[in-house]
């Protein structure tokens, strides 16, 4: 298409980003070359550095530059509470929305046999080690309320229960400010099943 192989390679390389198709990657490539060469240089450097230096936390598997992430290192965090989440984005959401002061374990996915993702891909060996070695009083399962998330929660729940550690699951139900009339049946039946004594 172009007579500059390098440009073609750049356009192709940008397509590795999620949601970027051929048209967007072409726009990005032209933008960087035409208008923001300095930005492109910075991006290239930071990408190289990030890929080289960011790894996974030894305890919680979240992204970190050090051996242990900031949360696992923090002395004020309650190390007897462990919250299991599917992704770093979920961890951030919980950090921003709740006053949770315990630690996390990031699975980086969920069990999904139909996609070929099994326990080995989620670092459950590290989780088991953590349960055996650390003094944990409660594990909070905060995986998504999808079929795969539920299967993951049940699987981990059993691992935790077998060690006589308290295990809890986040509640599912009617969103705050929602109206029952407009809520989908699945959510509503969950909310109904999970009703609580007042």
């Amino acid at each position: 298409m172009t007579d500059i192989p390098l440009l073609e390679r750049l356009i192709e390389a940008l397509r590795c980003l999620p949601g970027v198709g051929p048209k967007s990657s072409q726009r990005m490539a032209f933008h960087l070359l035409e208008r923001d060469r300095e930005g492109a240089r910075q991006l290239a450097e930071i990408l190289l550095e990030a890929v080289a230096r960011i790894g996974h936390c030894r305890l919680c598997r979240n992204f970190t530059e050090a051996e242990l992430c900031e949360i696992c290192r923090h002395p004020g965090r309650d190390s007897s509470l462990l919250c299991v989440v599917e992704s770093p984005a979920d961890l951030l959401a919980l950090e921003q929305a709740t006053g949770y002061r315990g630690r996390y374990f990031v699975l980086m996915g969920h069990l999904s046999p139909l996609d070929g993702i099994g326990p080995g891909d989620l670092g459950l060996d590290s989780l088991e080690r953590l349960l055996d070695e650390e003094d944990i009083a409660e594990v909070i399962l905060a995986t998504n309320p999808t079929v795969e998330g539920e299967a993951t929660a049940h699987y981990i729940g059993e691992l935790v229960r077998a060690r006589d550690i308290r295990v809890t699951r986040i509640a599912h139900g009617v969103p705050v400010g929602g109206e029952l009339e407009y809520i989908d049946g699945g959510t509503l039946s969950r909310a109904f099943l999970g009703r609580q004594v007042v």
Partner: protein
């Protein structure tokens, strides 16, 4: 004079309305869309493009869940028609704990052993029945009977009342199953008992011996159909049992 009718008929054909279906699986596509694999009553298994399904304000997100009875409308031909309507119709099966793994197994079987665009209304009815049964009935029984019926609908019906030679299977006899052939009398140690085979054929797996026979037989028959790619939900379940057993010691 016929042309408009034919064109109208084609449009009608390519946009099925309110078809009973279950979601089998979904995969993310682009930023906010997903490709939803569904099993429908009249059109068999097919992939549908659900635009905006994963967007924050998606109206389908809570609806397009596996094990939820649905009616769906879609438009377009080719490999990936576009979903245009989804409504809840029928029961939502919420599985607790270990039964979730069995439910995932059912979906993986459908995904692996059925072809897209191959209508199987009877199998659809069996799938719905199996999901309902899986809520409280014995899991192994539900799975084995579904496997048996799935095989029948994809063209591998097991004949368990007669041997390959057409001799009636008797409760006291012992048999082995030769793939592509049928039952043959056998005195081998792992041979199936006639009693267990007849119980399986009649759908009565009420004792350990008949369940064991059904499990071994289905494994044997399914193996060549699955090829060298194992069923991940089966591996998951084996791993689950191993880990929970090990940590209990």
């Amino acid at each position: 004079m016929f042309a408009p009718c034919a064109a109208w008929a084609m449009v009608k054909m390519s946009s099925p309305q309110l078809q009973a279906a279950f979601v089998i699986h979904q995969r993310p596509f682009r930023n906010t869309s997903a490709i939803v694999e569904v099993f429908s009553e009249q059109h068999g298994r097919l992939g549908l493009m659900a635009r905006g399904l994963r967007a924050p304000r998606s109206r389908w997100r809570g609806i397009l869940q596996p094990y939820q009875g649905l009616v769906l409308s879609w438009r377009g031909r080719g490999e990936l028609p576009t979903l245009i309507q989804a409504e809840i119709a029928g029961p939502c099966c919420l599985f607790q704990g270990r039964r979730l793994f069995s439910a995932l197994y059912l979906n993986e079987l459908l995904l692996r052993l059925t072809h897209r665009h191959d209508p199987m209304p009877e199998l659809f009815a069996r799938y719905r029945q199996a999901l309902l049964a899986l809520q409280d009935a014995d899991e192994a029984t539900v799975l084995r009977l579904f496997e048996r019926d799935l095989l029948k609908h994809i063209g591998y019906e097991l004949v368990l009342e007669h041997t390959a030679e057409g001799v009636a299977v008797v409760p006291g006899g012992r048999y082995r199953y030769r793939l592509g052939h049928g039952l043959v009398p056998s005195q081998a140690e792992q041979a199936f008992s006639g009693e267990a085979l007849l119980a399986f054929a009649a759908g009565r797996l009420d004792n350990a011996a008949s369940r064991d026979c059904a499990r071994r037989l289905m494994r044997q028959v399914l193996a060549p159909l699955l090829g060298d790619k194992p069923l991940h939900s089966r591996l998951l379940y084996a791993d689950y049992r191993r880990r929970t057993a090990r940590s209990k010691i």
